[in-house]
Structures are given as structure tokens and as C-alpha cells.
Symmetry: D2
Subunit: 351 residues, 4 copies
């Protein structure tokens, strides 16, 4: 029986960090060696360093584990999951990568670097190949692999099979995003209750640029962005977890809603074919009821790893429109990073 790979969780006290710990507590490939956070938490037991904000067993059984300082203690683990904030990630993630770890990062810091894989295993598993380039260019034995912004992740899960089958030309996406996307404490209840906030800092540009990279082609030495025009309008709504997206797309050949549905239903990309532990059996759940998917009722299905599509219909402007839903802190954050690491494992990066 093969030994599990030891991992470090960086930024373990936050909303996404806690989800990393919960996901990795009983993982078939990985086991938690280090729970790391800022100096303020270092030295405390995990249960004293933060309030557990998820359901299920508090601290996923790691309540007694002593938190290490993410900034000074690089106690070696070959895999690092990073839930660090953008500015902190800037210095720390390269430090871990240089020390030899593969850093699976949820931060936006390095996503758009030309030699950093921006990865959704169902969408662009071949982009993993950028890692070799990165190591060579930066002289690292480890490396940094990123997952996209949560809103982008959900979007590309639906676009990828359409791009493959038809070709996506333009996308107009309006999001209605959950509070948890802003971390904790994040959005004040005084701002969000009974309200819609039509702005999320930095979100729209991220969706617009990351989508083109994710759907781009890896050509041995670089990723060439897909020639897709994306327009995003992002909103915060009084929802706990899960981003709803209203999507209009222009597809080549102007396929019918039935053709679009068939393509989404039949999609079984690499993670499903490989049987990655965190991959949902069906990556896109199709809803027939005219009022679904609904975030509160549907988003927790498949441990938040599938995305949901419903109301596929003609768009008078772009051709096809549909309702899309996905879990921002699972598929769009912790679960996405873990799935990336599972892909790297099966592709031999830890052999």
C-alpha cells in the first residue's frame, strides 16, 4: 500500500482554508502535515486560532493540531495548498515553490503569469505542461499551479464543452454571487441584507481575462488565449454559498438549445474518465424544471463539485442563453485546488 503524500495548508484559518482542511482530512492521496497561518495564529492549537465556520465535525478532527507560521516555518511537505490573500501570496508562494513544493494556489497573484498553469482539470488538463517551463525559467524544483477566480471556474465548466463542440465566440455573463466569496468577515450584514450590490472589486476583469486563458490552447511552450470576447457584470446578493450566473453565448454554427443540452449532458472530460477522487461523476448537472437550478437548493450536491445548468433556450441577441450555478468556495476554491493536485498526482508529478 502506497504512502500518502504530506501536505501543508496555508491560510488555514479562513473560510477557504477551513474547507481545505475538511477536504484533506480523509483524502486517499494526501494527508495534512502542517496547518499554517499568519504569525498571529502560529503556536496556537487550530481550535484556538479560529472559529470553525463549517458544518460537520469541528476542525475536521484537527482541533488539537498546532498551527505553524506560514511566513517563517517552511517545514517541508511536497504539496502546499494555499488559501492566502493575494498580497501575502506574492512572497510566500514562490518561497515554498523554490523550497521544492508544488503550490496549489487559490490566490489571484500569479494566475495570469505566462508560465503559470491556470487550471480546471475538466477544462484544460494539458495546461499542466506549463509547469516544466516554469521550473526551467524560474529555477525551481517545485512550482505554482493556480485555479481561477470562483466565478470564472463555474463559467468555464459550462463553456468548455460548448467551445469544444461548436466554438464560443462571445459571452455575456451576469453573476449573482454569494457572501462567502468575500471571505470572513467579508461583507457586512448591514450592506447585504435585503440588498443587491452591483460591484465586486476586481471581479469583472478577472472573469474576462481568465476565461480566454483557460480555454486557450497549450502549444508546448505557451498558452495561446482563445479568441473569445467575454463581458461580465458581477453582483453580490444575500446568499451564503454559491454563485448564480445568467449566461448568453454566441456559438459557431448557431446550434439549437437541444444540441447545446446534448453536448453538456454527454460531456465526460479527463477527471471523470480518470476517476479523480474529488471529481463529480457528472460534471454538469442539467435541470429540466423551469425554475432550477436554485442556489440554496442545488449547490451542495456532489459536495459542491458539479456545476448546474438549466433553462437552456434561444437568446434573441447572442443565440443561446442559460442559467448556471456553482459552488464558489468548493468547486471555485478549495475543491478546485484539490482536484488540480489529484490531476498532478495521476499525471505522475509526485512519482
Amino acid at each position: 500500500m502506497s504512502k500518502k503524500i504530506q501536505v501543508t495548508v496555508l491560510g488555514a484559518t479562513g473560510v477557504v482554508g477551513q474547507r481545505f482542511v475538511r477536504r484533506l482530512a480523509e483524502h486517499p492521496f494526501f494527508e495534512i502535515a502542517h496547518i499554517a497561518a499568519s504569525g498571529r495564529s502560529a503556536g496556537k492549537r487550530y481550535q484556538d486560532a479560529c472559529e470553525w465556520r463549517l458544518d460537520g465535525e469541528p476542525y475536521a478532527g484537527f482541533g488539537e493540531h498546532v498551527v505553524t507560521d506560514s511566513g517563517v516555518d517552511f517545514s517541508f511537505a511536497p504539496v502546499v495548498f494555499s488559501a492566502l490573500d493575494t498580497d501575502v501570496a506574492k512572497d510566500l508562494e514562490p518561497a515554498y515553490a523554490e523550497a521544492g513544493a508544488l503550490v496549489f494556489s487559490n490566490a489571484s497573484t500569479f494566475r495570469m503569469d505566462a508560465d503559470v498553469p491556470l487550471l480546471v482539470p475538466e477544462v484544460n488538463p494539458e495546461h499542466l505542461g506549463l509547469l516544466a517551463l516554469q521550473r526551467k525559467q524560474r529555477g525551481w524544483s517545485g512550482g505554482i499551479l493556480t485555479n481561477p477566480n470562483c466565478t470564472t471556474t463555474v463559467l468555464v465548466m459550462a463553456l468548455a464543452p460548448l467551445h469544444e463542440a461548436f466554438g464560443v465566440e462571445t459571452v455575456l455573463m451576469t453573476s449573482m454571487q454569494a457572501a462567502s466569496g468575500a471571505g470572513y468577515p467579508g461583507v457586512s450584514s448591514l450592506d447585504l441584507m435585503g440588498n443587491v450590490i452591483p460591484f465586486i472589486k476586481g471581479e469583472e476583469p478577472k472573469v474576462e481575462v481568465e476565461t480566454a486563458k483557460l480555454l486557450g490552447r497549450f502549444q508546448g511552450r505557451q498558452v495561446q488565449d482563445a479568441p473569445i470576447v467575454v463581458s461580465a457584470m458581477c453582483h453580490r446578493v444575500p446568499v451564503l454559498d454559491g454563485h448564480s450566473e445568467a449566461v448568453s453565448v454566441k456559438l459557431k454554427g448557431n446550434p439549437s438549445p437541444e444540441q447545446v443540452r446534448d453536448v453538456l449532458a454527454a460531456w465526460r472530460p479527463e477527471p471523470q474518465r480518470l476517476g479523480l477522487p474529488s471529481a463529480p461523476v457528472v460534471p454538469i448537472r442539467l435541470h429540466e424544471a423551469e425554475n432550477r437550478p436554485q442556489v440554496r437548493r442545488d449547490v451542495e450536491l456532489d459536495a459542491g463539485m458539479s456545476v448546474h445548468v438549466g433553462r437552456i433556450r434561444r437568446c434573441p441577441v447572442l443565440g443561446i442563453k442559460f442559467s448556471l450555478l456553482g459552488h464558489n468556495t468548493e468547486r471555485g476554491a478549495a475543491g478546485g485546488s484539490v482536484l488540480n493536485a489529484e490531476l498532478a498526482k495521476l499525471k505522475g508529478y509526485f512519482d
Copy 2:
């Protein structure tokens, strides 16, 4: 001193009906003669027939007023405001019109009839001219005038000045609509709390067809629809009052965001020039803060009669996008009907 015109409020016990009563309780042109509702409420005092659900003085001082039966008692008033449901309006509104009343209706029943004005005074006041045609064709001394669906109303308020200045070619609109749009009791709290519902029955087609009629040209004998392609994606969100809309538009000549802003800021259409009592001084409130307009904070301004525009910016797909907000049960319902009646008054229809 001129005498006020007597009015009947139909469907006075519902959410919109109560707003009619509150708006008309102290109106410079009109005074309430009859408060009418279904047979179940007839004969009761208004305060016993329904629970008052607005703030301010309960029943707007009409609590002791005895409710008449909208279905049998046509006690004559020259103006009727109708908050009836679609199916009830079908028989009753023509009955009142035939009896000689001008019926200002919030129901969708007759909106798309070729000889019925679908009216927003800031947008298409000249459509009032259809009334002469209607009377002739139907042999009525009264008539039916309608206001659009609430979501459409808010949308055309922003589109009208752009259509006039540049020409609107296509519109993609995603709405996030308040619970009050579904009436009372309307949406169950079990469906709406912490949720987004990506479907509102009949809403999207209404927005798509009504917009073209509203922005159409009245040519003496008919309205020719504007050649505008509209795509709507409508959602219910946990908000009490006020519809938020994310709007992308393709305008002729591809104007800049600054040009769009200038046009919206300068717009002073007929109701503002005439000084209609319910018309807001400024029909479109422009917001500079990047996170405004916000429905809970902004929608009650100007008694809910102005609409709000913010975040005017380039749309990579259609050219221009912006955030839009308006009050669904005031501007989009009761207030809109009253404004229509005020326009008819100043245009001499009650002389």
C-alpha cells in the same frame, strides 16, 4: 378653484392597490370616490377588508371607507385605476371603459392590443393618441390605457434617451427582482430566503415585446414597433422592493461611456417639462460611486419615481453596459399609472 376628478381604485386590497390609495389620498388632480375589490371584501370597511402593508398612515386615512364590489358596482367615476389580476381585468376593465371611464390599468391583459396605449409618459407620451382609435374601433366613450410590466418600465426609462440620441440596436438585460413584484402573499419565504430563483413566469417575453412597442413610433393610426432586439433573463432575489437590472446595449455609432452619461444626465422629457405632479424632477439619477445604485439604499428616493443608473462602462460584447434600478411597485406599477393619468389630464382628456 377647479374641482378634483373622482376616481375608482380597482383591486384596492392588494400590494399595488394600497399604493394607489396612498398616492391618490392627497392628489392635486384626483380624489378617491370608490375603493373597489372582489365580492369577498365588498361591504366591509377598507381596514377590515385587508391588512395595510405599507408604512405611513394606515389605509392612508381611508380605513373607514366601505369597499364596493368591483364586479357589480360600476358607480360612476370618470377615472379608474386598476390593480386587478390579468384574468379578472379581462372582463372588468372593458366594462368600465364601455361605461365611460378612462381605465389606467396595471394589468398585462390589453397591453399588446394594437389600439391600446402602452404608456410611460417620459418615453412615449404621443402614444396617448391611440386612444381615439380605440374609442372609434370599440365604440367606447371611455377607454383603456396601460403601463408596462415593472421590469420593462425601468428598462425603457434608461433606453428612451439613448434611443433618441443614438438609436438602440440590441439589449441584453438580466434582472434581479424584488419579492413585491409577485404580489401578496406572493413568494414563500421558504423559496426566497438565501436563494436566487432564475425564473419568473411570463416575465422575459413581456420585457422583450413591450420594449419594442414602447420605443415604437406612433404614426397617426398605429404604433410601429422599434426594430430593437431585446433579450431578458429574469431572477427573483431576496429583496423587498425594487428591481435591479444589469444592462448591455448596442448603440448606433458606438458612443463612449461619457457620451452615454451626458445624454442620460441631460434628459428632461415631457412629464418633467410639464411638471406632472408625480413626475420626479430628475427622471434618471446618475450614481458616481462604483458600488451604486443599491436597491435597498436608493430605490425609495423621489417616492420611487426616478430610476437609477450607475457604472456606465464599455461592454466588450455590445459596446455599453450599466447598472439600472427602479421601484417595481411605484414607478413600475401604481406611480406609473397615476403619472399616465396626470399626462392625460394635462393633455385635455378630462376637459
Copy 3:
């Protein structure tokens, strides 16, 4: 291997009925034979008769099952779970009981009848003995067994061990109750969002009288109410599932908070000793954090069958006060009824 006992679910299309179906779909003692509802639903497939409103597998796998008419089709099953409304239960539950079924009812109709067991297995399992009396008096081969109002159920779970250990003299309970307690569609979102409603019809008297019966002593031929004075103040708050209760109690001997905590922690009543399938291992979950239990975070633990107690402290007026929480539609409704049936099974009522 023993055969499972066939059951009928009455009122299966509502919020509680659906929870009955989900709980019984894979039950070790029982199997669903009939899914029954009003004539309007009869003859339809379950999935066509109602919208599934729980998470997990839709219709718990019974979507294709054809609904029978609860009012005319008494197709025999020895156990009936009733989620009927009070007034419908009045005629139907006796009809099933007379036909030979043991009816486990969630309706309030017969709860306070002197010969009807009002049962919470952890609290008063010996009250099952009333059934013999009921059968004799009413000439039934079956019978009616009830579970209390949801708010009462949660309350007596905490009071029972205190009554046993010390004796409860007076109780002052303020509840903050979830929307689901009112059924579906139940409370309008327009009434509940951002609001507290200080009244729930009939709730306070139910809590006040049912508590005394539940904690009463069964003396062979009747239940003598416990001499406890209860005062309830019931509120509806914007919460989906779970009732929070602020409880002050006067206990004999004026025990300390620590003594109270020890008694609650040590309590292992009959369902736990017997290992009833739906009984939580620990009936009362004690919380040490000063801001727990919290309904949204804690109430789903143990499939909603345990109750939660926190903040046990001195009450300057009555002696002891604490925070209490329980699941209204599981422990307080469907789960409670199923637990009652499990107790009856192990006590030999189906042999």
C-alpha cells in the same frame, strides 16, 4: 430475516410529509406502501403531485410512486404516519385507527385527549400505555399516538432531565421560530424578510398545556399533568429550519449551572438505551462556546434529532437560564413521529 412493516404516509406532499418519505425510504423497521394525499394529488405520480423541497435525492426515490387519496383509499397498512392539517386529521385519523392502523400523528387535533398518548420517547415513553385505554374506550383495533407541537418538543427534551433530577416549578420560554414551522407556502417573504413577527397563531397555549401533559405521570388509567407553570412567548424570525428558545426555569433546590449542565450531559433515556434507529446517540448536545448553539450552524447535526443547549447560567429571576435549539420539522415533526413508531415497535405493539 424479519419482514418490514408496511406504512402509509398521509399528507405526503407537504413539508413534513416529504420529510416522512425521506426518513422512511430506507428504514430498518418500516417500508412505504402508500403515499397518500388529498384528492387533488391522488392518481398522480408523487413527482407530479408536488415539488420536492428537501435536499438529497428528489422524492427519496419515490417519484414514480402513484399517490393514493388519503380520504377514500384506506388500503391497509398497519402503520400510518400523518402530516395532515388539523381539520382534515379530525375525520381521517380516526377512520384509519378504526380500520386497524396505528396512526402516528403530527396534527394537534387529538393531542390533548385524555386517552391519546402525547409522546416524546426520551421524555415519557411510559405514556404509550394510554393506548390500551384508548382502544378499549373507542372500540378501535388500531389507535392514535401523537407527538407534540414542535416548539414544545424541543422544550421538553431539555426540561425532562431537569424535572427528573430536580423538579421543574416554572418555565418562561421565548421562542424564535423558523419559517418551515408554518408549512408551505406558509409565511410570505414580504412578511418575514428583515422582520420579527411576535405572534404565531395557537402556539403559546399549545406549549403551555402540552408541556404539563408530557411531563405528567402515567398512573395506569390516566396521565396526571405535572404541576408546572409554563409561560411561552412565540416569534417568527427569518430562519429556514430550527427553533431557537430562550429558557428560564425555576428548579427545586436551586441547583447551580454546573449541576444543571452535569444532569443534561449525563442524560441517556430509553431511546438511547434501546438504540432506536432514529434516536441520536446523545439526546442533548451541550455547547461551550458563549455564542452557540446557532440555528443555522448547529440544527442539522444528528439528522436534526438531538437538541442543543448552551449558555447555562444563573437567572436573577427564576434561577437558571439557557439557550435551547431544536429542529422543528425533524425532531419536532417527522422524526419525532418515526421515533414514536420505533418505540412502539420495540415495545411489542406490532408483534
Copy 4:
């Protein structure tokens, strides 16, 4: 025409500070001379120093006013309204008092000091007399006057007439408090949406001790606490503004609900008799509907300065129970302080 008294608002950028500015912008006695905040805001225009979070005119017309540093700039105004945090108030309020200003403070810091008036003008206007003692003991030409915790303020408004008419012996109060009570950003939306939090730091002891002081008797040289036993259980609920309280009281002589209602209805204490500008005409609004008062619908009446009582009924434990409601950031904070200053003005403290 008499000149207005100049005032300083301390902590003007927060939730309560903004309400001070809005209330004082058009006040008949006072005019704003200085808007002060922490060093971080000092030197900025008010509109640049904070986001305006109230409705109505942004910054109440003071958007261009330059913010002074509350900690170093004691530019003299004879009246200071303080919305400072407890720990900041500790040093600053005495500094202003020593400099000669009367400081009307919303902070809890000095409330329980024996020589500091804890004041609700309807309840204990004579406690103003403590000020002379304070000045003498502390050698100040100014002084500090406080208003109670928001929850306490609402409670004593209802208790005062009952104490006067009958004598209050014990009180058991369960509160359901709004998010705004925690300031801004205050409670995270991730904590509050769909939840009830059964704990508010420091709140219960404040209610229990402040009530006794407020209802105590001023005897020339000191206030003797009223011999009332109060027990408070405080909760945070998903409400924006307004605290709901469920109150049970033991009154001497065990009056009937009708007698209690009559006393509350007839109550016209000193601020109403004097006609203080911010005093509501009717201090206690009585509700007859069985489901009122409701916080979202009722709390803004009378600019938030009246409190609301409904559902007066027998309590089986203490004798009388009722539902109580009041505005936490108006009556319980900014409005309360302003009313205190108005009382001081009419009592000649600024002559």
C-alpha cells in the same frame, strides 16, 4: 431671535455618528460646528472620510465640511455629542468635559459612575441633578451625561409608567436585536443571514444593571437603585434596525392587562409636556393587532423616537407579558442623546 448653540459631533463617521449629524442638521436649538473623528479621517471632507449609510440627503448637507481630529482638536463648542467607542471615550469625553463642554455620550464607559446621569428624559429627568455633584467632585465646568444601552432604553420606556403606577418587582426580557446595534461593519453577513445568535457581548449585564439605576430615585446627592430584579437574554437576529423585546413583568398588586394598557396609553411624561423637539407626541404606541408591533413595519414611525407595545396579556409565571419594540440607533442612541440635550437646554443648563 435666539442664537443656536454650537455643537461638536464625536465619532461622526460611524453608524450612530451619522445619525447625530442628520438629526442636528436642522435642529431648532443646536447647530453643528465641528464634525470630529479619529486621526485617520481628520482633514478630509466628511464625504471623503466615510460612506454615507443612511437614506435621505447624503451627509445631511455636510459633505463638504472638513473633519477635525477628535483627539487633538478641542475647538470649543459648548455641547458635544459622542458616538465614540467605549475605550476611546474613556480619555476623550473627560477631556471635553474638563474643557467646559457638556458631553452627551452614547458610550457605556461612564454610565454606571455614581455621579454621572444615566438619562432617558421620559423616565428619570430629575437625574439631571447629578450633574451639579459631578462638576463639584471632578472640578469640571462641563460634564458628562449618558444615555443607556439601546436595549435598556427601549425596556425602561415601557417599565417607567408601570413602575410609577404599580411598582415593578421583577422583569424577564428576551431581546431580538438588529444588526445595526453592533455598528459598522459590525456583524458579518456570513454570521447573521438565516441565523439567530444567542449572545451579544456585555449586553445582558448592561440591561440588568442600567435598568435599576434608571428607575432609581434621585435623592439630592445620589441615585438609589430601584429594587428591581431584571434578567435579560439577548439575541442578534437578521434585522437591520430595531430591537424587539419579549417582556414578562411582575407588578405590585397584580394588575390586569387592561389596567396595564390604560397606564401605558395615558402616559405623558415631561418631554411630552415640555414639547421637546425630538420627543414623540405619544411616547408609547399601543398596537391592537395580535401580530404587531413588527420591527420592519413599525420601528421608523415618529422618526424612531416612540416605542411600541402590543399583545399585553397575562403571564402565567410573572403576571403580565407583552411585546415591545424600539429603534436602537435612534431612540436607543443618537435620538436619545439629542433628547437629553434638549432637556438640559429647557432646564436652563445653557443659559
